[in-house]
Symmetry: D2
Subunit: 400 residues, 4 copies
């Protein structure tokens, strides 16, 4: 249980931190301007391309991906770098080519993709030449129960035919999102966890139609490709587009979720740190009733509580990363569930406190807080609501 | 301490309820379409005009305003009607001409305006021919401390000259918002609470410029005129535009705040009831793991907690209304502060639960929940953050 | 929905308040001394007898009991008087002959007892000549599920024979507790809610043995007769000792619970008010780091939160009382459950805050706080844990 | 940041765990019997002596003490052993001679005592031949502010003369507590933190009088010597009894507090684990409404939340221990404050949940829960209330 950062981690984190301060944070305003200048545009903005180019030059690239195709970091090594990117979730993860859902999709391709699939899709994704989307969640069903999935993937000769409707396909509004990984049922009569398969569907395949963009509290998340509702109507792809074998969809999804969840938690810690740092600035600069905010009211207590939460939960995230590295994702499941529940919730509280400290500025776009809030609030729902995980974790705990 | 609704209240509430079900709730989708159809338009949408016309015909009009110019209801009589409008805060208050900030502005004019001011501005407001805005909050100062106000109102012969910058002027993006009530200092050297005055500034006066719209969690609140940042640069108006006398601004603001706060709380209860009703629908309709949501997890506990909170806080709101009616707003100050703190916080929790129950649909525009959340969250900041009120209420309590 | 106290209520409450200040609060120290002087004694202490005599002289007697045998107050009339007694739960309820479990037992006898039963047991209870106990809860079963009851009541000729084990029979350690009302099953095969009956068992009946006293957080509650575990082994009583008819036990229990719960909540509000008043004293008297506690930290916020909770919940209790008076206990069930859950929980929080304000003195016997805490904490368990009520209330709410 | 237990720690913890299961837990009932058999006795009970003898034989002795006089463990090594003792706080710490306040007193003597002082008092304490008390807190002053201390230590020739009143001198009711470490002011005019000194006062010195025992939620904590109020009236001891030099009292107190706080937190984790393990047993064994508790209601959520809290906070405690070992207590101050606030609060919540799960048995002496609760609740007050630490930690955080 050694969480101490090794030299490489220390060096990478420092470099990422400098990059954040020097390039990313100043670029936030530029992004706002570029977004405002082209309000109907969904593709990656020029400033993101600029940052990507600079980050790649500095070796801050594909850090999320273990193995030879990526930076080869362990989860424990990646954690503090990922936390740095959480300070600016609209820009930093994309700048480092470490943004969801591309990360998870690249992991799936790296781990389960055929040589052909890897060459065709993983390679350009690793270069950020294209973006991707993950089509799992469906309207009108509780997606935390995988047997609810309505999309069908039917074998027809050398092809698979996909029919169904997905939503919350993050990034899919971006025309550069060239490839979709779609989850559906190949065999509704198989065992509960062998009914599902995953298949690659190029964006421009006939029968694929983007129905509409979705919003998260008022935000369309246009900067990273938004969230789409997509209809798949008798969409035909070559049989070679199936990932792994028929029936392996649930297992692949599970494999994808573990890293996805811990990455979210790592970034969330950075979001919490940024909110706390904003509390600090405001507390020292703002005056009311003749004193700074820091000298009155409950702001000291809020800062203390926030610090305690971040310290304790960061350790739990690091332990989880260490477990995933040493005993594997499956045996780290309890810890993954624990951080999936605890981290977003705590960070939501911290951001909410920061909003309250900033007052009206906190809910507006003059601070990053409201958008951070929308992002972290969604994490309590994404990949299954907290309650499903709490109940599952509790059941395991009561079994002893 | 008799909160029982009298016959008139019972009848009005029932009528409002029917109007809500038959006209307002079905109109929500129409509003969405009209908003989408003219994305750059800030004025009142046709559907609102239609609803206003229908509501006026049914006597559901200006119910918030006591005295002869309004419906003449007491706070206790108005409360349950206002709660009904909270079910659809984008449409119902406007439909009944009971929407902030017009309500508060009309109250100010009715109570403190000269005959000329009333004729010129109150009359068209009561007919909903024009809209208005209230310009109090300023960027860069903690507005909960009235001595922080930076806007200056200088007497110059027969005119007043106004210079300053305001933001969160709700409704001011709407070109129909013809009149602004502006708070500023006429005498920065007077006693703490005699420095401020209020003055009427027609929108088209030279020197008034709308700087930009502000957003709340990504929402621009375009349907009711949004929130503007406004610059006043050497703006000249006739001296007769001053409301009341020089130095009375703080007192007028206080008089305006009491009813404003209780109206917000009444509507908030309706928002909470709607969220709870949405929880109820979802719990019974949605299935996961083979059972309805109502049959598993913590949703029953959430529904129970929500019901208890709404019941207890409704009674506190009614008592506050009754106190305002019987002993006056000033002597109801503790109760007004109490509901200002407790109601939005509780309703925020209830809406947050509902979002969690709806999952991804809850944060999107497919349910009214995320926008309700943004609205209720802002109430914890508007008119002074909760913390200022908590501290003030606590100080009074400790004095005994 | 008129909760205004009428003249009689106002007068009685004022009288009770004076009695509390002049007689009861000063007697708390005397009680401590009398308890310390006879540490093995379980009977009513002389100071309680003195207070009872004084209270009876002032007409502060049997106020809980509606109808001719009691003071004839409605629940709404009794509520504020009961709240006064909550300020000193060890002494005031007993002083006014309004202490549980005698109150509930007297209600049962008044409502369901035969003329003979009433004469033999109700009359001396109304005079406080004897005390009583209610034997319902059993060790080793979840008593919130009435079908779990293990005690058997078997008809044998002109007698009933009772066998079983009870605990948490409050008051039963007191040798003056002359009569026990025992719940048991007369017909385990009947319908779920017709299996149970209640029967009167005089303390000195053969086969009754007091097994041991139980403690609540270290307190033996010796002042009001403690809590006993009792074994009933082939205990024979005349058939005329059955209350009501066979199978009516569950219904009688339900009838008893409603008033019992609201009485607990009324007193709990008084406990909360006392804790808040102790916070107030301490905040103004105690100095640390050069200022009073009232001038620093979070104590103002705690006082404000406590005040808000007490105000809102008092109204909910009053509404519940009013409903019980006007539409009956059964139709007030939702509200009774709501206050049963919400009031003790809130008051527990308030007392916990007060303990924290007092520091070490707060957990010791130098303030009444720790013992108040033990009492209120137990209310979250008594008559079914909060969770059972939350779940039931939530189910009803979700049914709509 | 390596928290992995080394071989010695692993082995010691395993041995302690076996000792707990085989000797300590079964002895809890014996202790109850021995306490009941001699209700007026304050000294160490025979069962404790038996356990001490067995523990010493197994090398489970003085594990808290670093350096040659103790077991020489680091904080990180001691942590998991201390956690084991928290499962049975009445017996296990005493059995291992690791019980407060003796631990802190031995640390003070080992670190600051003269050779003579060590020989006379440390040696028998290390053998558990005598017990000791720490006399710091005073009635009527806020002890978290050290300048409030009223006790005076006056030099008079070769002696010091001590006058003052202390309370919450834990262990001092035990006649075997042969030595008291007393904090008082030698120079009230010195700098704020140089006014205080510590001095050794043998129990039998003239002028020392035990005023009374204090209770914690009704418990007299008789098993470990209770808590005494003590009067010191012109008590004379040789000048050589001063610990360190005049004016060093505050520094010694600070040195004593760091380890004291972390030890409390380590044990608190064990208390939390025991409560959670009791929840587990009950959830699986108890039936209501036809199912086990584990299958219904919110108990799964409670178990999950408890597990998450324990995991996160254990890591924070281990990090704190590691920091104390590597950078020193002073530079670990933020973390020490953090765990001092967070751990007892979380464990209190867990124990409260367990009480609720057990119902009436939970507040009685039939489970260890109520007494565990009283103990953990007191920790939120001991060594300064949470609020003082929160405010201090928050101030540091806002300074950045």
């Amino acid at each position: 249980m050694d969480f101490a950062p090794d030299d490489r981690t220390r060096e990478l984190t420092a470099r990422a931190r400098v990059f954040l301060e020097e390039h990313v944070l100043p670029a936030e305003e530029v992004l706002d301007q570029q977004l405002a200048a082209a309000p109907d545009e969904w593709s990656v903005r020029p400033i993101v391309r600029d940052l990507q180019s600079a980050a790649r030059d500095q070796g801050l690239w594909n850090l999320f991906l273990p193995g030879e195709e990526g930076a080869g970091l362990t989860n424990l090594q990646y954690a503090p770098v990922a936390e740095v990117t959480g300070w600016s979730p609209r820009l930093a993860p994309a700048a480092f080519n470490c943004a969801a859902p591309d990360t998870g999709n690249m992991e799936v391709l790296a781990q389960f993709g055929s040589a052909e699939q890897r060459e065709q899709w993983l390679t350009p994704l690793l270069r950020a030449d294209i973006r991707s989307s993950f089509c799992m969640t469906e309207p009108d069903t509780a997606s935390s129960d995988a047997t609810n999935i309505g999309t069908r993937i039917r074998r027809d000769g050398d092809e698979y035919v996909i029919t169904g409707r997905k939503w919350w396909s993050t990034g899919a509004m971006n025309p550069d999102a060239a490839i979709f990984i779609v989850m559906g049922k190949t065999d509704p009569d198989a065992d509960r966890h062998r009914q599902q398969s995953m298949i690659l569907v190029p964006r421009d395949t006939a029968g694929v139609s983007i129905v509409r963009p979705l919003t998260v509290f008022g935000y369309d998340d246009r900067d990273h490709g938004g969230h789409a509702e997509i209809a798949f109507e008798e969409v035909r792809v070559p049989a070679s587009h199936l990932i792994g074998e028929e029936g392996s969809g649930f297992a692949i999804a599970q494999a994808r979720l573990g890293p996805g969840r811990i990455h979210h938690c790592m970034r969330a810690l950075g979001m919490g740190e940024r909110a706390l740092s904003l509390i600090r600035s405001r507390a020292n600069e703002r005056h009311a009733f003749g004193r700074t905010l820091a000298e009155q009211g409950v702001i000291r207590e809020w800062a203390a509580e926030s610090r305690i939460q971040l310290e304790a939960l960061r350790l739990l995230v690091l332990k989880t990363a260490w477990l995933m590295d040493t005993v594997g994702n499956r045996r780290a499941m309890t810890e993954i569930q624990a951080i999936k529940i605890a981290v977003p919730r705590a960070v939501q509280t911290i951001i909410d406190r920061a909003i309250q400290v900033y007052g009206a500025a906190g809910v507006s776009s003059d601070t990053p807080l409201a958008e951070l809030y929308a992002g972290i609030r969604s994490l309590r729902i994404a990949d299954g609501p907290d309650e499903v995980h709490l109940s599952s974790l509790g059941r395991a705990e009561l079994r002893g």
